[in-house]
């Protein structure tokens, strides 16, 4: 079978699983941004600096893992440099390996207050994009940012094609998040959480001012990319971190609006939720059936998800990163077996939770793929 035929077959399987339809076997999906260079013997500094090498290492890692049982595709496709992308997602400075950190270390978001309380007013007055133009120079060198944008505008299509040329499907190629995450990243978690208690109306006004532009930008980008899903991130907005009155006001209504906007545009929201969201899983049943995907990181109770949301929404996940780092191949195999038994066979796409970390053991990732073949065939 040609790689193009393989790609079509895999995308068909992925699409069916995302819509909770019967599949010939459960899709096995890759996600392991920092794992890829480690697995392929590339330095982390090189991976961070060279956008094409970064994509090539990711595809090569998928090719290698594919030999252990078959990979259907990738969760969120890497199409260029990771650290500028994270900077725009977190609105925070990053420590970059090879520049600010030792070449083999992991990039890290700097937890510091860059956005000020006065910036809430600036967002309300200027709008989101205008505010960002003034804000970005505080967190990234604008020459570097310009190169990043130029690369994205001119090379993303070619980079996405690389996955397809190797027969791999792509679930998401664009990402967004509700205003909570951007403001929290810019303010720092501690400052932002205190703002929610001390000046809630102001924070909400800034969120509401920024939100339409955020939605419009993400929908437009996703339509251009052509992948079926859109990665809707959540990390600091997790249920385990926020009091219910805050979550109900500052988090959930924005996910609902974002999800509807994506669905209306023919896209599938993929809730990439780190941390524990178990408390509020029942709310997912409020969303249109079989139009969204939950992508938790191993901390959310997926069996509770199955119980509460049933076949209304597919699950993409959730082999825990810690298990991939310090567990054994047998433990990984058992985790996948139980996941298939309890969540599958429909509405499940097997994937590392969040993503396979830099120190995931190769034998554990290989066991993950092999277990997908062993237990996912039904």
């Amino acid at each position: 079978m040609s790689n193009e035929a393989l790609y079509q077959e895999r995308m068909d399987r992925i699409g069916k699983a995302m819509r909770c339809e019967p599949v010939d076997r459960i899709p096995v999906i890759y996600m392991g941004v920092a794992f890829s260079p480690r697995y392929m013997g590339m330095s982390i500094a090189k991976f961070c600096e060279d956008p094409e090498a970064c994509v090539d290492a990711t595809v090569a890692a998928m090719d290698r893992l594919n030999q252990f049982g078959g990979l259907d595709g990738i969760n969120l496709a890497q199409t260029g440099r990771i650290t500028p992308a994270l900077t725009t997602m977190w609105l925070a400075r990053l420590g970059v390996p090879g520049r600010d950190l030792p070449p083999e270390s992991l990039w890290q978001v700097r937890e510091e207050e860059v956005m000020t309380q006065a910036d809430y007013d600036a967002i309300i007055e200027k709008g989101w994009q205008n505010f960002l133009m003034g804000y970005l120079p505080k967190i990234i060198d604008m020459a570097e940012f310009g190169e990043f944008v130029h690369w994205a505008e001119t090379k993303t299509g070619l980079m996405l094609q690389k996955y397809r040329d190797h027969g791999f499907g792509i679930i998401c190629a664009a990402a967004g998040a509700p205003p909570f995450e951007y403001l929290c990243g810019g303010r720092s978690m501690e400052k932002f959480f205190l703002d929610l208690y001390r000046m809630p109306d102001k924070v909400q006004a800034a969120m509401d001012a920024a939100f339409p532009e955020m939605i419009g930008g993400t929908v437009g980008l996703a339509k251009m990319m052509g992948a079926p899903g859109v990665w809707l991130g959540g990390w600091r907005a997790a249920s385990a971190l926020l009091a219910p009155k805050l979550w109900n006001r500052f988090v959930w209504p924005y996910y609902v609006k974002f999800a509807h906007a994506l669905i209306d545009a023919g896209l599938t929201p993929v809730f990439h939720w780190d941390q524990d969201w178990t408390r509020d899983l029942a709310r997912l049943a409020e969303l249109p059936a079989k139009k969204c995907v939950l992508n938790p990181d191993g901390m959310t109770d997926v069996r509770k998800f199955k119980e509460l949301v049933g076949d209304r929404m597919a699950l993409l996940g959730d082999v825990p990163p810690a298990l991939l780092s310090v567990g054994t191949p047998d433990e990984v195999r058992a985790y996948v077996r139980d996941l298939v038994r309890d969540i599958g066979p429909t509405g499940l796409l097997l994937c590392p939770g969040c993503d396979a970390p830099i120190n995931a053991k190769p034998e554990n990732m290989e066991a993950f793929v092999a277990a997908g073949k062993e237990f996912g065939a039904g």
Binding site: Q108, E190, Y197, A243, L246, S325, P357, I358, N359
Partner: protein, 212 residues
């Protein structure tokens, strides 16, 4: 709970709590008694977190209120540090710069009466060793959010052992990805993935009861 100050803190009423402290100081109340009320409020916050009524955001707000209410007491209390329950050396291990979880734990441990030597983030193993030697602390807390912290935790505990300090020191590890498997991998004595667990473990160890 009948103490108004403790109630205000436990209900996260910042303005009311700060006002009450001011009023009590002006009325000549013993600062130690005021501190005890603040600690009582924080104890209830911890219990509400354990019972699922409160969440991390509430702990952060409570920690902020505790800082605001106890700040005017520091200069009026002879020892200034609290710390009657013993010393704890705590930091985020080498290679990891996450401070939020650590800071919450530091705040809760201080509110619970421990003297916490906060070493910050990205702390090399030797720094933990040196600080334990200098202070004679019997409890060490290692924090980390990333899976790369696992190896740093293991190295830190090995460094404590190499320095001959391990028999006299209990080590707890904490952070989102911690599990019993990670505890065994690192060679720690206890683990937790929520902030209140650190207080519970420290309290048990302070009573001489090991927590596995």
């Amino acid at each position: 709970m009948s103490d108004q100050l403790a109630m205000a803190i436990s209900d996260l009423e910042e303005e009311a709590a700060v006002k009450l402290v001011g009023e009590r100081l002006a009325a000549g109340t013993d600062p130690m008694a005021i501190l005890a009320s603040c600690q009582e409020g924080m104890t209830l916050v911890g219990k509400r977190y354990e019972s699922g009524e409160y969440f991390i955001s509430d702990l952060m707000m409570a920690g902020e209120i505790f800082k605001a209410t106890t700040a005017p007491l520091a200069s009026r209390i002879a020892t200034g540090k609290g710390g009657g329950k013993g010393k704890i050396v705590l930091g985020t291990v080498k290679g990891d710069i996450h401070n939020i979880g650590k800071d919450i734990v530091v705040g809760l441990l201080r509110a619970a009466g421990y003297e916490v030597l906060d070493l910050g983030v990205d702390v090399p193993p030797q720094k933990f060793v040196d600080t334990v030697k200098e202070t004679g602390a019997k409890i060490v807390g290692l924090s980390g959010l990333l899976t790369i912290a696992f190896d740093s935790m293991k190295e830190t505990i090995a460094a404590l052992a190499a320095a001959g300090l391990r028999p006299g020191v209990k080590v707890m590890i904490g952070g989102g990805p911690m599990t019993a498997t990670v505890k065994d991998y690192a060679g720690a004595d206890a683990w937790g993935n929520n902030a209140q667990a650190a207080v519970s473990v420290a309290n048990e160890w302070s009573k001489g009861v090991a927590h596995e």
